[in-house]
């Protein structure tokens, strides 16, 4: 057996290192600090995330391999890391006041979020199925715990347990798929799999492996029929964690899926596109139709997040440069508008999650009401918000690749979605307020996060070109 010299390159993993070090630091400080001094932990965390963001930006436009071709630094991974880190930043900022309100202010919370972010970053940057799995598990394990972070709350426990059981089940599928691919191609390296799939012989094992990987990652991105956990987990998990789960891990799942499907299996597009076509249609339709009859806003956004996964799958089916870049743009836009919507739910607390609780919100909190309306319009895909631009690019990439039917189904679906998004707006603006509870001022950091997401939503909607160009420059060379 030949001996591989360890190929260590700390520079290309510097964002990951920063996140890891900060996570460990928070973990050490947590038992050391007592009482009020713990308040600095979230600030350490978000500063760390911001530093990592800066370091990602300095690594832009470099293409390097490292760690024996297991780790790749390219614009594709950097773009995704920007998505993850902005999502994490927003979640940390908006969590601070929430945790105090719920009396679960513990340092582990931030540490776990950072570890999960680390896992996602690993997924986006890996060129090896094993490392993808490793990242996925690091991320998932943290999320299982975070979902149950409101320990005294039964719903939170249930959420954590369900997430863990189904998640472990899905991980099994993924690992089995990886094993199958290894059996078929004799490698877990995506580049070598690519070389293999470009050959003439494609054994059945290869496709069985691909199918199982689709199941495993389909669970993470909440695609039909692997989405069943989503509403229960979203409902029970602490709201900031719901926001977190619905943005970062979904994007991480897509980053892995994009690399596997469009890079390693890019030349077999004809073979798998039909499966994804069906998945996309079912995911969109299922999410949107069931969301119609939801009365809990967290569950409503859960189904909406399923539907949005369907839209991104449309971009995957379309494939090609425009498909990849539109999927990336969509995920970025979705991160801002979705977390933005959740921030308002976070502010209102766990007791106000029924749609009726939002009656007349705009008279009590005009700013929150208007911003929530903005995010709802964006999620529904109205111009001039990011949601419109994102959908526009996805559907136009589908039409460009000849999937006009799929684009039409997507547009019809977004018609359906308008109903339940606007229902929230109608309830907020046109109904009388229900109770006369004391008005609470908006906490500073939560307001900051809100401002950031409003900026993202509007910037991507009004001036999409800059970020679209960024996404277009971030496409990995398709095989």
């Amino acid at each position: 057996m030949s001996w591989l010299t360890p190929d260590i390159n700390f520079k290309i993993i510097s964002p990951e290192l920063i996140i890891l070090i900060v996570a460990l630091l928070v973990l050490i400080l947590e038992p050391l600090l007592k009482g009020r001094s713990k308040n600095i932990l979230p600030h350490i965390s978000w500063i760390g995330v911001a530093l990592a963001l800066v370091s990602v930006i300095t690594l832009w436009n470099r293409e390097e391999l490292g760690f024996n071709q297991m780790f790749i630094l390219d614009n594709f991974s950097c773009f995704f890391k920007i998505i993850f880190l902005s999502g994490t930043l927003l979640v940390i900022l908006s969590s601070i006041s929430y945790l105090k309100e719920e009396k679960i202010f513990h340092g582990e919370y931030f540490s776990l979020i950072l570890f999960a972010t680390f896992g996602m970053m690993l997924m986006a940057s890996s060129l090896n199925l094993i490392v993808i799995f490793l990242g996925l598990e690091i991320m998932s394990l943290c999320l299982y715990i975070l979902a149950g972070f409101r320990r005294y709350d039964l719903k939170s426990n249930e959420s954590s347990m369900k997430y863990f059981l189904i998640g472990a089940f899905a991980s099994g599928f993924l690992l089995y798929g990886i094993a199958m691919l290894y059996g078929a191609t004799n490698s877990t390296n995506l580049k070598e799999i690519l070389i293999f799939t470009q050959g003439f012989e494609n054994p059945l094992f290869l496709f069985i492996g691909l199918g199982l990987i689709l199941v495993g990652l389909g669970f993470k991105i909440a695609s039909f029929p692997f989405h069943m956990w989503v509403p229960d987990v979203y409902e029970g998990a602490p709201t900031p964690i719901t926001a977190f789960i619905s943005s970062g891990p979904k994007a991480a799942g897509f980053s892995a899926l994009l690399r596997i499907l469009l890079f390693a299996f890019g030349s077999l597009h004809i073979d798998w596109s039909f499966v994804l076509w069906i998945l996309a249609v079912l995911t969109m339709s299922f999410g949107n139709v069931i969301a119609l009859s939801q009365t809990n806003i967290k569950r409503l956004l859960a189904y909406s997040s399923i539907a949005h996964a369907g839209y991104v799958l449309v971009a995957l089916v379309a494939g090609g440069d425009s498909g990849i870049s539109s999927a990336m743009f969509y995920l970025l836009a979705y991160t801002f508008m979705n977390i933005g919507a959740f921030i308002i739910i976070i502010f209102l607390g766990e007791k106000k999650v029924n749609l009726d609780d939002y009656s007349g919100l705009v008279t009590k909190y005009p700013i929150l009401g208007i911003t929530l309306a903005l995010f709802m319009f964006s999620l529904a895909g109205f111009p001039p918000t990011s949601g419109f631009m994102a959908k526009f690019y996805v559907f136009s990439s589908a039409i460009k690749s000849g999937y006009t039917g799929l684009a039409i189904i997507g547009v019809l679906n977004s018609f359906v979605s308008v109903y339940y998004y606007l229902r929230v707006v109608v309830i907020m603006f046109m109904r009388a307020p229900v109770d006369e509870v004391q008005k609470v001022p908006i906490p500073f950091f939560l307001g900051l996060a809100l401002l950031f997401s409003v900026w993202g939503t509007l910037h991507l909607g009004i001036l999409p070109q800059s970020f679209l160009t960024l996404a277009q420059n971030s496409i990995f060379s398709p095989f």
């Binding site: 189904i166 496709f207 199941v215 069943m228 359906v416 109903y419």
Partner: protein, 639 residues
Amino acid sequence: MIDYCWLVPFLPLLGFLLNGLLGKKIGKKLAGWVGCGSVFFSFLVALKIFSELLSYPASERFFQKTLFTWVVSGNFNINIGFQIDPLSTVMMLVVSGVGFVIHLYSVGYMGKDPGYFRYFSFLNLFVFSMLTLVMADNFLLLYLGWEGVGLCSYLLIGFWYEKRSAADAGKKAFITTRIGDLGFALGIILLFWTFGNLNYTQVFSQAPSVLSHGGALITAITLLLFLGAVGKSAQIPLYVWLPDAMEGPSPVSALIHAATMVTAGVYVVARCHVLYELAPLSMGIVAVIGAATAIYAASIALVQNDIKRILAYSTISQLGYMFLACGVGAFACGIFHLFTHAFFKALLFLGAGAVMHALSGELDLRKMGDLKKYLPVTFWCFLAGVLAISGIPFFSGFFSKDEILWKAFSSPHGGFLLWLIGFITAGMTAFYMFRLFCSIFLGKSRVEEEVKPHIHEAPKSMTIPMIVLAILSVIGGWIGIPHVLGGKEHFGKFLSVVFEKGPETHGIIHSAKAESLLMILSVLVVLIGIAVAYLFYISRPQLPKNLAEKYKGPYKVLLNKYYVDEFYNKAIVGPFINLALWFWKFIDVAIIDGFANGSAYILGWISGVARKVQTGYVRNYALSLLLGAVVILAYFVLR
């Protein structure tokens, strides 16, 4: 500073955001500062740009500054970009300069209004939109500004929305101009369809080669664009909204409905002069409509009693002059009249505002008179404005109006008839302006007794803007003194780069004698108009009444504005409402709603059924996952 030309529209936008979002928090005083300051600084920037522009040789005074790319879709590429050339600079100066003065006036005029912040934010938004309109370097951005000013006009006319008539007037203005805007939008679409581009430079440079001279397409484009101008600039037949628009606050009338927005149509025609010169038929129509509107509106103004409405009809009439100038190919003259008109008409409106202010909101000139001793400053300023608009020599209106009359007579596109109409209108203008002036300030006081003790001169923040505008109304025309009077025509020369291909350079009749003769004639007719007004309203006040008795029929027609509003209501609005009712009751409620509600009902039902899949049991979730896996694998295996 030209590189920073985006500051000019950006500052008022900032003011709009600050006042609109934070108005109540920062207080009235600061809000007023923000409102005025933002426009003032944008005026300063515009001045700097103007002085820099002068430092370049005349042929190089052209810049296009692209801020960023707005939309890219295939070959459709639109930039947010500004064009700096003499024409846009003149417009920038007028908009920001007059705008600033009127903002200042508003501080005093609106001081006690509860909607103070709303007012200033809308006013700033208006200035932003208007500056975007005049600075745009492509038709789409122009259209954005065009719609923006329309919106602000609507918002500000209906500013006192609790008043039914104000809200209705706002709607009327919006809907009427909308008809024109439809044409305008179609014109832009046709332009894009023809050229595949909307940038001025590209469109104008390709136009002569792409379009045949006098062809159907260019005529259609120019007429559609002109339809937009007709709506926005209140020309026949879409002028009906402007008199009603006087329901808004007086400074709004001064800024939007006298000095700036209504002149946007003239600006667009002048900006597209390359296109109009290719379409002689359209030029003719522009000239005829302009002339007809001028005399028509002036005739209505003769007998009206509401001071602001008289000014409104006068504005329509003056705008007619500008279109007449454009129609005969004298675009620079049209812009020159726009420039001077902005000063004296804004001044007159502000003066009317001051009179209203003094008389607790009274608008009927039959209840005024002899206000000279109460309102000395307003009196003198108003006099300057009246002299300017009447065309008394060496006041600003004289130069610009006379130039238009001369061009209407001498230009190859013009003719004797057009000149005659303009000439008669000049006399009418002098008459009704002095009728207005005499009735307000001179003669016997007819003010109601309970109002009398409260009459007072306006505060400084209102009088200073009037004084500034009065000075400008007197001297504003001196930058364009024609050669006949020994002037240098600086204004025309400055603009000549933009209009260099204009036919005005090769007029048929080029005789100084003829020009002087016409000038003397027009001064005479103006003096006659003034004399008649003096006779009617100062020396023998019962005379007009007798005349009205004698010619009851024509008088009534004029007083009721030729019954055009009634005609429109019967012929257009009524049937339209019936059609709309039919669409609503039958097409919308029965068919469309039925379809939409039906599909929504079905979807809701499906949703209710499908949600039962969500049992809450982990085993069922795992089963669904497994089933999914089996189906996917089966597809791959059995394929």
